[in-house]
Point group: C2
Chain length 227, copies 2
DNA sequence: CCATTGACGATTGTCGTCAATCGTCAATAA
DNA sequence: TTATTGACGATTGACGACAATCGTCAATGG
Protein backbone atom coordinates (compact mmCIF):
# COMPACT_ATOMS: atom_id res chain seq x y z
CA UNK A 1 0.00 0.00 0.00
CA UNK A 2 1.10 3.50 -0.66
CA UNK A 3 1.19 6.11 1.99
CA UNK A 4 -0.60 8.83 0.05
CA UNK A 5 -4.26 8.60 -0.72
CA UNK A 6 -5.27 8.11 -4.28
CA UNK A 7 -5.14 11.29 -6.23
CA UNK A 8 -8.01 12.03 -8.57
CA UNK A 9 -7.00 10.90 -12.00
CA UNK A 10 -6.30 13.70 -14.40
CA UNK A 11 -9.10 13.46 -16.87
CA UNK A 12 -8.61 15.32 -20.08
CA UNK A 13 -11.13 15.71 -22.84
CA UNK A 14 -10.00 14.57 -26.25
CA UNK A 15 -9.91 18.17 -27.28
CA UNK A 16 -7.58 19.06 -24.42
CA UNK A 17 -5.31 16.15 -25.26
CA UNK A 18 -5.24 17.09 -28.91
CA UNK A 19 -4.45 20.70 -28.01
CA UNK A 20 -1.63 19.63 -25.72
CA UNK A 21 -0.22 17.33 -28.33
CA UNK A 22 -0.41 19.87 -31.11
CA UNK A 23 1.05 22.63 -29.01
CA UNK A 24 4.09 20.62 -28.07
CA UNK A 25 4.47 19.44 -31.64
CA UNK A 26 4.52 22.99 -32.94
CA UNK A 27 6.66 24.38 -30.15
CA UNK A 28 9.19 21.62 -30.57
CA UNK A 29 10.00 23.11 -33.92
CA UNK A 30 8.77 20.15 -35.94
CA UNK A 31 6.65 22.53 -37.97
CA UNK A 32 8.32 25.51 -39.54
CA UNK A 33 6.67 28.95 -39.43
CA UNK A 34 4.35 29.42 -42.36
CA UNK A 35 3.87 25.69 -42.66
CA UNK A 36 0.37 24.78 -43.67
CA UNK A 37 -1.95 22.53 -41.72
CA UNK A 38 -5.14 20.99 -43.04
CA UNK A 39 -7.83 19.73 -40.75
CA UNK A 40 -8.83 16.48 -42.39
CA UNK A 41 -5.44 14.74 -42.51
CA UNK A 42 -4.59 16.10 -39.08
CA UNK A 43 -7.77 14.72 -37.60
CA UNK A 44 -7.05 11.35 -39.15
CA UNK A 45 -3.50 11.34 -37.80
CA UNK A 46 -4.74 12.08 -34.30
CA UNK A 47 -7.64 9.70 -34.65
CA UNK A 48 -10.26 12.24 -33.64
CA UNK A 49 -13.15 13.96 -35.35
CA UNK A 50 -12.56 17.13 -37.25
CA UNK A 51 -14.90 19.17 -35.08
CA UNK A 52 -12.95 18.13 -32.01
CA UNK A 53 -9.62 18.94 -33.56
CA UNK A 54 -10.96 22.25 -34.74
CA UNK A 55 -11.62 23.46 -31.22
CA UNK A 56 -8.01 22.81 -30.37
CA UNK A 57 -6.86 24.66 -33.47
CA UNK A 58 -9.00 27.64 -32.56
CA UNK A 59 -7.50 27.66 -29.12
CA UNK A 60 -3.95 27.60 -30.46
CA UNK A 61 -4.91 30.42 -32.79
CA UNK A 62 -6.18 32.50 -29.88
CA UNK A 63 -2.88 31.78 -28.17
CA UNK A 64 -1.06 33.24 -31.11
CA UNK A 65 0.90 30.30 -32.46
CA UNK A 66 -1.47 29.49 -35.31
CA UNK A 67 -3.31 31.66 -37.78
CA UNK A 68 -6.39 30.70 -39.66
CA UNK A 69 -7.07 31.69 -43.24
CA UNK A 70 -10.80 31.20 -43.84
CA UNK A 71 -11.64 28.44 -46.25
CA UNK A 72 -7.98 27.87 -46.91
CA UNK A 73 -6.25 26.42 -43.91
CA UNK A 74 -4.18 26.97 -40.83
CA UNK A 75 -0.55 27.83 -40.61
CA UNK A 76 2.13 28.27 -38.01
CA UNK A 77 2.71 31.95 -37.38
CA UNK A 78 5.78 33.53 -38.91
CA UNK A 79 7.03 36.21 -36.57
CA UNK A 80 8.38 39.47 -37.95
CA UNK A 81 10.84 41.80 -36.25
CA UNK A 82 7.91 43.89 -35.06
CA UNK A 83 6.32 40.82 -33.56
CA UNK A 84 9.49 40.03 -31.68
CA UNK A 85 9.57 43.57 -30.40
CA UNK A 86 5.99 43.23 -29.21
CA UNK A 87 6.76 39.97 -27.50
CA UNK A 88 9.74 41.30 -25.65
CA UNK A 89 8.16 44.53 -24.49
CA UNK A 90 5.15 42.61 -23.27
CA UNK A 91 7.21 39.94 -21.61
CA UNK A 92 9.27 42.58 -19.91
CA UNK A 93 6.20 44.24 -18.51
CA UNK A 94 4.65 41.02 -17.28
CA UNK A 95 7.84 39.68 -15.80
CA UNK A 96 8.56 42.94 -14.03
CA UNK A 97 5.24 42.67 -12.28
CA UNK A 98 5.85 39.01 -11.52
CA UNK A 99 9.27 39.77 -10.07
CA UNK A 100 7.90 42.51 -7.86
CA UNK A 101 5.12 40.29 -6.55
CA UNK A 102 7.42 37.33 -6.11
CA UNK A 103 9.81 39.44 -4.07
CA UNK A 104 6.97 40.79 -1.97
CA UNK A 105 5.65 37.38 -1.02
CA UNK A 106 8.96 35.56 -1.03
CA UNK A 107 9.26 32.71 1.43
CA UNK A 108 12.16 30.50 2.41
CA UNK A 109 10.95 27.66 0.22
CA UNK A 110 10.42 30.13 -2.58
CA UNK A 111 13.95 31.41 -2.23
CA UNK A 112 15.17 27.83 -2.35
CA UNK A 113 13.35 27.32 -5.62
CA UNK A 114 14.91 30.43 -7.11
CA UNK A 115 18.35 29.29 -5.98
CA UNK A 116 17.80 25.88 -7.47
CA UNK A 117 16.62 27.35 -10.76
CA UNK A 118 19.59 29.64 -11.05
CA UNK A 119 21.98 26.83 -10.19
CA UNK A 120 20.40 24.61 -12.82
CA UNK A 121 20.90 27.36 -15.34
CA UNK A 122 24.48 27.83 -14.23
CA UNK A 123 25.20 24.14 -14.57
CA UNK A 124 23.63 24.08 -18.01
CA UNK A 125 25.76 27.02 -19.09
CA UNK A 126 28.90 25.26 -17.94
CA UNK A 127 27.97 22.16 -19.91
CA UNK A 128 27.28 24.35 -22.91
CA UNK A 129 24.49 22.31 -24.49
CA UNK A 130 22.19 24.84 -26.14
CA UNK A 131 18.99 22.94 -25.58
CA UNK A 132 19.64 22.51 -21.88
CA UNK A 133 20.52 26.15 -21.39
CA UNK A 134 17.39 27.13 -23.20
CA UNK A 135 15.25 24.87 -21.07
CA UNK A 136 16.83 26.01 -17.83
CA UNK A 137 16.41 29.62 -18.89
CA UNK A 138 12.69 29.22 -19.43
CA UNK A 139 12.37 27.24 -16.22
CA UNK A 140 14.02 30.03 -14.27
CA UNK A 141 11.61 32.65 -15.52
CA UNK A 142 8.67 30.32 -15.07
CA UNK A 143 9.70 29.82 -11.45
CA UNK A 144 9.44 33.54 -10.83
CA UNK A 145 6.03 33.81 -12.42
CA UNK A 146 4.73 30.89 -10.41
CA UNK A 147 6.05 32.43 -7.22
CA UNK A 148 4.10 35.60 -7.94
CA UNK A 149 0.91 33.70 -7.11
CA UNK A 150 -1.11 35.50 -9.74
CA UNK A 151 -3.26 33.24 -11.89
CA UNK A 152 -4.09 35.66 -14.66
CA UNK A 153 -0.55 36.97 -14.87
CA UNK A 154 0.62 33.39 -15.14
CA UNK A 155 -1.75 32.72 -18.01
CA UNK A 156 -0.90 35.88 -19.91
CA UNK A 157 2.78 35.19 -19.43
CA UNK A 158 2.34 31.66 -20.68
CA UNK A 159 0.95 32.91 -23.95
CA UNK A 160 3.84 35.28 -24.48
CA UNK A 161 6.38 32.67 -23.44
CA UNK A 162 4.86 30.25 -25.89
CA UNK A 163 5.37 32.55 -28.81
CA UNK A 164 8.89 33.25 -27.70
CA UNK A 165 9.53 29.51 -27.61
CA UNK A 166 8.12 29.25 -31.10
CA UNK A 167 10.45 31.98 -32.23
CA UNK A 168 13.47 30.42 -30.59
CA UNK A 169 12.65 27.03 -32.06
CA UNK A 170 12.28 28.43 -35.54
CA UNK A 171 15.55 30.32 -35.58
CA UNK A 172 19.03 29.68 -34.44
CA UNK A 173 19.59 32.91 -32.56
CA UNK A 174 20.76 30.86 -29.64
CA UNK A 175 23.22 28.93 -31.73
CA UNK A 176 25.75 31.71 -31.88
CA UNK A 177 28.79 30.42 -30.02
CA UNK A 178 28.49 33.25 -27.57
CA UNK A 179 30.19 33.06 -24.26
CA UNK A 180 27.58 31.24 -22.22
CA UNK A 181 28.88 32.62 -18.99
CA UNK A 182 27.28 35.95 -19.80
CA UNK A 183 23.86 34.28 -19.78
CA UNK A 184 24.13 33.32 -16.17
CA UNK A 185 25.61 36.68 -15.26
CA UNK A 186 22.53 38.30 -16.73
CA UNK A 187 20.26 36.26 -14.49
CA UNK A 188 22.06 36.34 -11.15
CA UNK A 189 21.21 39.94 -10.20
CA UNK A 190 17.51 39.23 -10.60
CA UNK A 191 17.74 36.07 -8.54
CA UNK A 192 19.66 37.93 -5.85
CA UNK A 193 17.06 40.69 -5.66
CA UNK A 194 14.31 38.10 -5.32
CA UNK A 195 16.06 36.18 -2.57
CA UNK A 196 16.80 39.45 -0.82
CA UNK A 197 13.04 40.11 -0.91
CA UNK A 198 13.60 43.49 -2.54
CA UNK A 199 10.58 44.23 -4.75
CA UNK A 200 11.89 47.45 -6.26
CA UNK A 201 15.21 45.97 -7.26
CA UNK A 202 13.59 42.76 -8.50
CA UNK A 203 11.25 44.71 -10.75
CA UNK A 204 14.07 46.85 -12.08
CA UNK A 205 16.36 43.90 -12.71
CA UNK A 206 13.63 42.03 -14.54
CA UNK A 207 13.00 45.00 -16.76
CA UNK A 208 16.69 45.49 -17.44
CA UNK A 209 17.20 41.81 -18.19
CA UNK A 210 14.39 41.66 -20.72
CA UNK A 211 15.22 44.91 -22.38
CA UNK A 212 18.85 44.16 -23.05
CA UNK A 213 18.01 40.75 -24.48
CA UNK A 214 15.11 42.10 -26.45
CA UNK A 215 17.03 44.93 -28.01
CA UNK A 216 19.81 42.63 -29.09
CA UNK A 217 17.34 40.22 -30.60
CA UNK A 218 15.26 42.78 -32.45
CA UNK A 219 18.39 44.42 -33.85
CA UNK A 220 19.59 41.08 -35.14
CA UNK A 221 16.23 40.40 -36.73
CA UNK A 222 15.93 43.73 -38.47
CA UNK A 223 19.37 43.19 -39.91
CA UNK A 224 18.15 39.87 -41.29
CA UNK A 225 14.93 41.29 -42.66
CA UNK A 226 16.33 44.25 -44.52
CA UNK A 227 18.51 42.58 -47.19
CA UNK B 1 -22.55 58.26 -56.86
CA UNK B 2 -20.56 58.34 -53.70
CA UNK B 3 -17.10 59.75 -53.53
CA UNK B 4 -15.50 56.91 -51.66
CA UNK B 5 -14.86 53.59 -53.30
CA UNK B 6 -16.80 50.65 -52.05
CA UNK B 7 -15.34 49.28 -48.91
CA UNK B 8 -15.04 45.53 -48.62
CA UNK B 9 -18.04 44.34 -46.71
CA UNK B 10 -17.27 43.10 -43.25
CA UNK B 11 -17.84 39.41 -43.47
CA UNK B 12 -18.21 37.61 -40.22
CA UNK B 13 -18.66 33.92 -39.74
CA UNK B 14 -21.76 32.96 -37.82
CA UNK B 15 -19.49 31.87 -35.01
CA UNK B 16 -17.90 35.32 -34.86
CA UNK B 17 -21.30 36.97 -34.88
CA UNK B 18 -22.55 34.69 -32.15
CA UNK B 19 -19.44 35.41 -30.09
CA UNK B 20 -19.86 39.14 -30.53
CA UNK B 21 -23.50 38.96 -29.63
CA UNK B 22 -22.93 36.82 -26.57
CA UNK B 23 -20.03 38.92 -25.37
CA UNK B 24 -22.02 42.11 -25.47
CA UNK B 25 -24.97 40.41 -23.88
CA UNK B 26 -22.89 39.24 -20.96
CA UNK B 27 -20.91 42.44 -20.61
CA UNK B 28 -24.05 44.51 -20.66
CA UNK B 29 -24.92 42.93 -17.35
CA UNK B 30 -28.01 41.12 -18.61
CA UNK B 31 -26.61 37.94 -17.13
CA UNK B 32 -25.59 37.95 -13.51
CA UNK B 33 -22.35 36.29 -12.38
CA UNK B 34 -22.88 32.64 -11.64
CA UNK B 35 -25.85 32.53 -13.97
CA UNK B 36 -26.12 29.27 -15.80
CA UNK B 37 -26.15 28.89 -19.56
CA UNK B 38 -27.18 25.80 -21.46
CA UNK B 39 -26.16 25.22 -25.02
CA UNK B 40 -29.31 23.87 -26.57
CA UNK B 41 -31.72 26.69 -25.70
CA UNK B 42 -29.03 29.24 -26.42
CA UNK B 43 -28.39 27.78 -29.85
CA UNK B 44 -32.08 27.85 -30.58
CA UNK B 45 -32.39 31.45 -29.46
CA UNK B 46 -29.55 32.48 -31.74
CA UNK B 47 -30.78 30.29 -34.54
CA UNK B 48 -27.48 28.47 -35.02
CA UNK B 49 -26.22 24.96 -34.53
CA UNK B 50 -24.90 23.89 -31.16
CA UNK B 51 -21.45 23.09 -32.50
CA UNK B 52 -21.16 26.60 -33.88
CA UNK B 53 -22.32 28.21 -30.68
CA UNK B 54 -19.97 26.01 -28.73
CA UNK B 55 -16.92 27.48 -30.42
CA UNK B 56 -18.01 30.91 -29.35
CA UNK B 57 -18.57 29.73 -25.80
CA UNK B 58 -15.11 28.21 -25.69
CA UNK B 59 -13.65 31.48 -26.88
CA UNK B 60 -15.45 33.47 -24.22
CA UNK B 61 -14.21 30.97 -21.67
CA UNK B 62 -10.62 31.46 -22.82
CA UNK B 63 -11.23 35.18 -22.46
CA UNK B 64 -12.20 34.65 -18.87
CA UNK B 65 -15.80 35.77 -18.80
CA UNK B 66 -17.32 32.30 -18.89
CA UNK B 67 -16.39 29.08 -17.14
CA UNK B 68 -17.30 25.64 -18.27
CA UNK B 69 -18.28 22.84 -15.94
CA UNK B 70 -17.91 19.57 -17.88
CA UNK B 71 -21.16 17.81 -18.62
CA UNK B 72 -23.01 20.37 -16.60
CA UNK B 73 -23.03 23.74 -18.28
CA UNK B 74 -21.51 27.15 -18.64
CA UNK B 75 -21.77 30.03 -16.29
CA UNK B 76 -20.78 33.65 -16.09
CA UNK B 77 -17.71 34.03 -13.91
CA UNK B 78 -18.18 35.36 -10.42
CA UNK B 79 -15.19 37.44 -9.49
CA UNK B 80 -13.76 37.29 -6.00
CA UNK B 81 -11.76 39.99 -4.27
CA UNK B 82 -8.57 38.17 -5.27
CA UNK B 83 -9.71 38.17 -8.86
CA UNK B 84 -10.27 41.89 -8.76
CA UNK B 85 -6.83 42.34 -7.28
CA UNK B 86 -5.37 40.27 -10.14
CA UNK B 87 -7.26 42.28 -12.70
CA UNK B 88 -6.12 45.60 -11.37
CA UNK B 89 -2.48 44.72 -10.95
CA UNK B 90 -2.42 43.30 -14.44
CA UNK B 91 -4.27 46.21 -15.92
CA UNK B 92 -1.90 48.58 -14.22
CA UNK B 93 1.09 46.82 -15.67
CA UNK B 94 -0.31 46.71 -19.18
CA UNK B 95 -1.54 50.26 -19.16
CA UNK B 96 1.75 51.55 -17.83
CA UNK B 97 3.49 50.01 -20.80
CA UNK B 98 0.83 51.37 -23.14
CA UNK B 99 1.16 54.85 -21.70
CA UNK B 100 4.92 54.81 -22.07
CA UNK B 101 4.72 53.65 -25.66
CA UNK B 102 1.93 56.06 -26.50
CA UNK B 103 3.94 58.95 -25.13
CA UNK B 104 7.01 57.85 -27.07
CA UNK B 105 5.24 57.76 -30.40
CA UNK B 106 2.79 60.56 -29.72
CA UNK B 107 1.78 62.59 -32.74
CA UNK B 108 -0.31 65.71 -33.11
CA UNK B 109 -3.33 63.74 -34.19
CA UNK B 110 -2.74 61.36 -31.31
CA UNK B 111 -2.62 64.23 -28.87
CA UNK B 112 -5.87 65.50 -30.32
CA UNK B 113 -7.47 62.14 -29.68
CA UNK B 114 -6.29 62.13 -26.09
CA UNK B 115 -7.64 65.64 -25.60
CA UNK B 116 -10.94 64.68 -27.11
CA UNK B 117 -11.21 61.61 -24.91
CA UNK B 118 -10.46 63.52 -21.75
CA UNK B 119 -12.93 66.24 -22.70
CA UNK B 120 -15.61 63.64 -23.33
CA UNK B 121 -14.95 62.22 -19.91
CA UNK B 122 -15.05 65.65 -18.37
CA UNK B 123 -18.36 66.42 -20.04
CA UNK B 124 -19.80 63.11 -18.89
CA UNK B 125 -18.70 63.83 -15.33
CA UNK B 126 -20.40 67.20 -15.39
CA UNK B 127 -23.61 65.62 -16.62
CA UNK B 128 -23.28 63.01 -13.92
CA UNK B 129 -24.90 60.09 -15.70
CA UNK B 130 -23.12 56.99 -14.43
CA UNK B 131 -23.33 54.99 -17.62
CA UNK B 132 -21.89 57.79 -19.70
CA UNK B 133 -19.03 58.39 -17.30
CA UNK B 134 -18.28 54.70 -17.33
CA UNK B 135 -18.27 54.55 -21.09
CA UNK B 136 -16.11 57.63 -21.46
CA UNK B 137 -13.71 56.27 -18.87
CA UNK B 138 -13.18 53.04 -20.78
CA UNK B 139 -12.93 54.95 -24.04
CA UNK B 140 -10.19 57.14 -22.61
CA UNK B 141 -8.07 54.19 -21.57
CA UNK B 142 -8.77 52.40 -24.82
CA UNK B 143 -7.52 55.45 -26.70
CA UNK B 144 -4.19 55.23 -24.95
CA UNK B 145 -3.79 51.54 -25.67
CA UNK B 146 -4.63 52.06 -29.32
CA UNK B 147 -2.10 54.86 -29.54
CA UNK B 148 0.61 52.54 -28.26
CA UNK B 149 0.56 50.74 -31.60
CA UNK B 150 1.16 47.35 -30.04
CA UNK B 151 -1.13 44.61 -31.31
CA UNK B 152 -0.46 42.02 -28.66
CA UNK B 153 -0.62 44.52 -25.84
CA UNK B 154 -3.92 45.67 -27.23
CA UNK B 155 -5.30 42.15 -27.23
CA UNK B 156 -4.08 41.30 -23.74
CA UNK B 157 -5.48 44.58 -22.47
CA UNK B 158 -8.79 43.87 -24.12
CA UNK B 159 -9.17 40.66 -22.17
CA UNK B 160 -8.45 42.34 -18.88
CA UNK B 161 -10.70 45.27 -19.71
CA UNK B 162 -13.48 42.87 -20.55
CA UNK B 163 -13.39 41.24 -17.17
CA UNK B 164 -13.29 44.61 -15.52
CA UNK B 165 -16.38 45.60 -17.49
CA UNK B 166 -18.04 42.41 -16.33
CA UNK B 167 -17.19 43.24 -12.78
CA UNK B 168 -18.43 46.80 -13.06
CA UNK B 169 -21.65 45.65 -14.68
CA UNK B 170 -22.31 43.10 -11.98
CA UNK B 171 -21.81 45.46 -9.07
CA UNK B 172 -22.76 48.96 -8.26
CA UNK B 173 -19.36 50.17 -7.15
CA UNK B 174 -19.80 53.07 -9.49
CA UNK B 175 -23.18 53.93 -8.13
CA UNK B 176 -21.87 55.53 -5.00
CA UNK B 177 -22.81 59.19 -5.23
CA UNK B 178 -19.17 60.13 -5.14
CA UNK B 179 -18.08 63.50 -6.28
CA UNK B 180 -17.63 62.88 -9.96
CA UNK B 181 -15.20 65.73 -10.32
CA UNK B 182 -12.53 63.61 -8.66
CA UNK B 183 -12.80 61.11 -11.52
CA UNK B 184 -11.70 63.60 -14.08
CA UNK B 185 -9.00 64.95 -11.78
CA UNK B 186 -7.60 61.43 -11.59
CA UNK B 187 -7.32 61.24 -15.35
CA UNK B 188 -5.99 64.65 -16.29
CA UNK B 189 -2.39 64.17 -15.13
CA UNK B 190 -2.04 61.09 -17.31
CA UNK B 191 -3.50 62.87 -20.31
CA UNK B 192 -1.17 65.81 -19.72
CA UNK B 193 1.89 63.56 -19.57
CA UNK B 194 0.86 61.88 -22.79
CA UNK B 195 0.29 65.14 -24.64
CA UNK B 196 3.59 66.43 -23.29
CA UNK B 197 5.19 63.34 -24.84
CA UNK B 198 6.82 62.42 -21.53
CA UNK B 199 7.12 58.61 -21.40
CA UNK B 200 8.45 58.37 -17.86
CA UNK B 201 5.75 60.55 -16.41
CA UNK B 202 3.03 58.87 -18.48
CA UNK B 203 4.08 55.47 -17.23
CA UNK B 204 4.20 56.65 -13.63
CA UNK B 205 0.83 58.39 -13.84
CA UNK B 206 -0.79 55.33 -15.37
CA UNK B 207 0.54 53.16 -12.59
CA UNK B 208 -0.55 55.59 -9.92
CA UNK B 209 -3.99 55.96 -11.43
CA UNK B 210 -4.63 52.23 -11.54
CA UNK B 211 -3.21 51.51 -8.14
CA UNK B 212 -5.26 54.05 -6.28
CA UNK B 213 -8.45 52.90 -7.94
CA UNK B 214 -7.56 49.26 -7.54
CA UNK B 215 -6.75 49.50 -3.87
CA UNK B 216 -9.98 51.30 -3.15
CA UNK B 217 -11.94 48.69 -5.04
CA UNK B 218 -10.26 45.66 -3.51
CA UNK B 219 -10.68 47.08 -0.04
CA UNK B 220 -14.38 47.63 -0.65
CA UNK B 221 -14.73 44.10 -1.94
CA UNK B 222 -12.95 42.42 0.94
CA UNK B 223 -15.18 44.32 3.29
CA UNK B 224 -18.19 42.92 1.43
CA UNK B 225 -16.84 39.39 1.38
CA UNK B 226 -15.94 39.03 5.03
CA UNK B 227 -19.30 39.37 6.75
C1' DC C 1 -0.80 36.60 -77.33
C1' DC C 2 -3.40 38.03 -73.43
C1' DA C 3 -7.14 39.18 -70.50
C1' DT C 4 -11.54 37.27 -68.87
C1' DT C 5 -14.38 33.81 -67.20
C1' DG C 6 -16.13 29.61 -66.03
C1' DA C 7 -15.48 25.21 -63.83
C1' DC C 8 -13.06 22.19 -60.73
C1' DG C 9 -10.72 20.33 -56.64
C1' DA C 10 -9.59 21.34 -52.06
C1' DT C 11 -10.66 23.09 -47.65
C1' DT C 12 -13.16 25.03 -44.16
C1' DG C 13 -18.10 26.36 -42.25
C1' DT C 14 -22.17 24.56 -40.39
C1' DC C 15 -25.40 21.26 -39.08
C1' DG C 16 -28.07 17.20 -36.93
C1' DT C 17 -27.37 12.88 -34.36
C1' DC C 18 -25.74 9.63 -31.11
C1' DA C 19 -22.64 8.54 -27.04
C1' DA C 20 -20.62 9.75 -22.46
C1' DT C 21 -21.11 11.85 -18.14
C1' DC C 22 -23.15 14.51 -14.59
C1' DG C 23 -26.45 15.57 -10.53
C1' DT C 24 -30.57 14.04 -8.31
C1' DC C 25 -33.85 11.37 -6.22
C1' DA C 26 -36.31 7.51 -5.09
C1' DA C 27 -35.97 2.55 -3.89
C1' DT C 28 -33.75 -0.54 -0.83
C1' DA C 29 -31.71 -2.80 3.02
C1' DA C 30 -29.41 -2.73 7.48
C1' DT D 1 -34.24 6.02 10.44
C1' DT D 2 -30.44 6.44 7.57
C1' DA D 3 -26.77 5.29 4.52
C1' DT D 4 -26.20 3.06 0.04
C1' DT D 5 -27.22 2.24 -4.56
C1' DG D 6 -29.47 2.03 -8.71
C1' DA D 7 -31.97 4.41 -12.30
C1' DC D 8 -33.45 8.60 -14.65
C1' DG D 9 -33.45 13.12 -16.89
C1' DA D 10 -30.53 16.71 -18.40
C1' DT D 11 -26.47 18.36 -20.51
C1' DT D 12 -22.26 18.31 -22.75
C1' DG D 13 -18.76 15.44 -25.70
C1' DA D 14 -17.78 13.66 -30.06
C1' DC D 15 -18.87 12.41 -34.64
C1' DG D 16 -19.96 12.11 -39.74
C1' DA D 17 -22.17 14.44 -43.66
C1' DC D 18 -23.47 18.27 -46.41
C1' DA D 19 -23.03 23.28 -47.85
C1' DA D 20 -20.25 27.45 -48.70
C1' DT D 21 -16.10 29.44 -50.16
C1' DC D 22 -11.50 29.64 -51.68
C1' DG D 23 -7.48 29.43 -55.17
C1' DT D 24 -6.21 27.69 -59.58
C1' DC D 25 -6.13 26.63 -64.16
C1' DA D 26 -7.79 25.67 -68.46
C1' DA D 27 -11.16 27.17 -71.99
C1' DT D 28 -12.68 31.07 -74.54
C1' DG D 29 -12.95 35.26 -77.13
C1' DG D 30 -10.81 39.42 -78.63
Amino acid sequence: MEKRALRPIARLSTEAQATLSLREHILSGALKPGERLTETPLAEQLGIARATLRMGLHRLASEGILVQIPYTGWQVVALSADDVWELWTLRSSLESLASRLAAERMTDSGAAKVSEAVENLSAACRRGRVNDINKADFAFHRTIVDLAGHGRLSEHYRQVEQQVRLYIASTNVYNEPDDWSVVIEHHRPLAAALIARDPDRAEAEARRHNETFGKKLVAAMRKDEQP
